[in-house]
Symmetry: C2
Amino acid sequence: MNANQRIALDVMGGDSAPACNLDGALLAAERGLPPERLLLVGNEDVIQSSLEERGGNPGFDVLNATEVIGMDEKPGVALRAKPNSSINVATGAVKMGAAGAHVSMGNTGAVVGAATVGLKTLPGVRRPGIAVTLELTGQPVTILDMGANVVPKPEHLLQYGYMGSVLTRDVLKGGDENAAPKVGLLNIGEEPSKGTDLLRAAHGLLTDSKLNFVGNVEGGDIFKGVADVVVTDGFTGNVVLKLLEDFSGFMLQLVMGELQTHGAQWGPEALGNVRKAIDYSEYGGALLLGVNGIVVIGHGRSDASAVANAIDLAKRALDADVNGHIVRGLEA
Amino acid sequence: MNANQRIALDVMGGDSAPACNLDGALLAAERGLPPERLLLVGNEDVIQSSLEERGGNPGFDVLNATEVIGMDEKPGVALRAKPNSSINVATGAVKMGAAGAHVSMGNTGAVVGAATVGLKTLPGVRRPGIAVTLELTGQPVTILDMGANVVPKPEHLLQYGYMGSVLTRDVLKGGDENAAPKVGLLNIGEEPSKGTDLLRAAHGLLTDSKLNFVGNVEGGDIFKGVADVVVTDGFTGNVVLKLLEDFSGFMLQLVMGELQTHGAQWGPEALGNVRKAIDYSEYGGALLLGVNGIVVIGHGRSDASAVANAIDLAKRALDADVNGHIVRGLEA
């Protein structure tokens, strides 16, 4: 195995680090990931002793990182002040080819900042974007950008269409080369004239591209199978994602309250499948697309299962050579 | 009663017009609205004969309008091509002082366009905005703008804060003069530096204002009582509203499916209170704030109850003299 097929896991990132990450790594191994594909990055003593408590290290490599960037630290400041943080060390491992992917449940801004500065963009890519995949309807729908690029240019949105399309075809839909994922542009109406100058210009670029562009889509179309990829600016994408997360939790509370007044005999676990459908950590978190390496950003609240899913997403992206396909697609 | 206390109802607008509107008018009268406060605008023959079928006209005035603007017509084109449309005639009634409010379930763009051009803005108001009030948590939360002003300037957002604040204090919270509604700015993080240039500038203006500004809020805060008024640009507001509408319907479907697999003995009506909580037509639809007249825009899908709620919202806005308070507030 090439070192660049390894996945560097930031053991120190996330609300319940390091436990959730170590449990997630062990779960990934249980599910069949060869342990040598994982490179655990963090305080070596803590990692080794914690693994001992969990029955031993099944064969993970460990890379020592003496500092930790907190979830609420200012990314730019923290990255400079803590060169030996797990996020910086894991990013450095990818930069040097000691790993091909970085998976972190830590400070999103710091992970994105470290990757953007340290890994640089892929040849041809103007700006990285964060892609989140939801599987609300059983079919994956990928939305990007989710916050890396708050004020994008039209060409950035075009490239997000390409990158989301490659991700959908090669990773989410199993590499069917004939698949032409449907790409939509998030807007407030169908007509090409709708929205802002940015969106009108992006609509033109997408129309002229080789993508399977289905035109403007509206927020609710995310649940209707209208598009496989929904392109948007990082501001709108971030608002949408946070709204979906919190609104789904809020609605489940309303529903459980209502059911109890009807004398329901079961508890919240009855709605487990609904919870699963709306929980994007089930799909492994977000991918930072467009940088020279695979970067998966999980939720700070991730549990072991979400961490294992994030690791699996990184593995699938590496195995499918998503970045190679992006570069070749943008050249064409 | 002054003529300018009357409410002009566009009988021809909405997916099930004229029936839903006539039933809604009758329901409003049943609920206690003096019939002489309603001015029914539309095809006079159709209105009178339809009222006959429903047991007679309880005392509504009728204003004939021979044309109808369809739900999918281009607003600008249709308004010019159909000067005798119910939307144009109802707007004209407000302009001439024959009514103080226009309530329509019709083509939103046409209602907004007619009001903006025909009624002009209130003294001191730079741009009108659409305010939608949700009562998800039992407390009203008003979001504006919902689509009238897709690319606003910072001063527009400041004024939306003022207008939303007046609406909350005078109509939604019963006119308590000491109430200082909490105003938040929809953004992707708490820090004043977050988001776009527009939002950073608006944050400064809101901070320096006399409003009870609570700072930046995120999408999910809408369900957390963090703010009574959430200020946003018309693009983001429109995306958010459509997302909430469709996502809530989608989630209820998921939940009902799940419950059936658990052998639930009841049907979809069990979740009636949840449906009610997420259905903004329960609160009377949207208000176009900042024009020289009260304009309520209901949902095209409105039923009689939603129409009656929209009429009631117009009545409360008139009775509270919302526009007078907005003008005096902006002067101060």
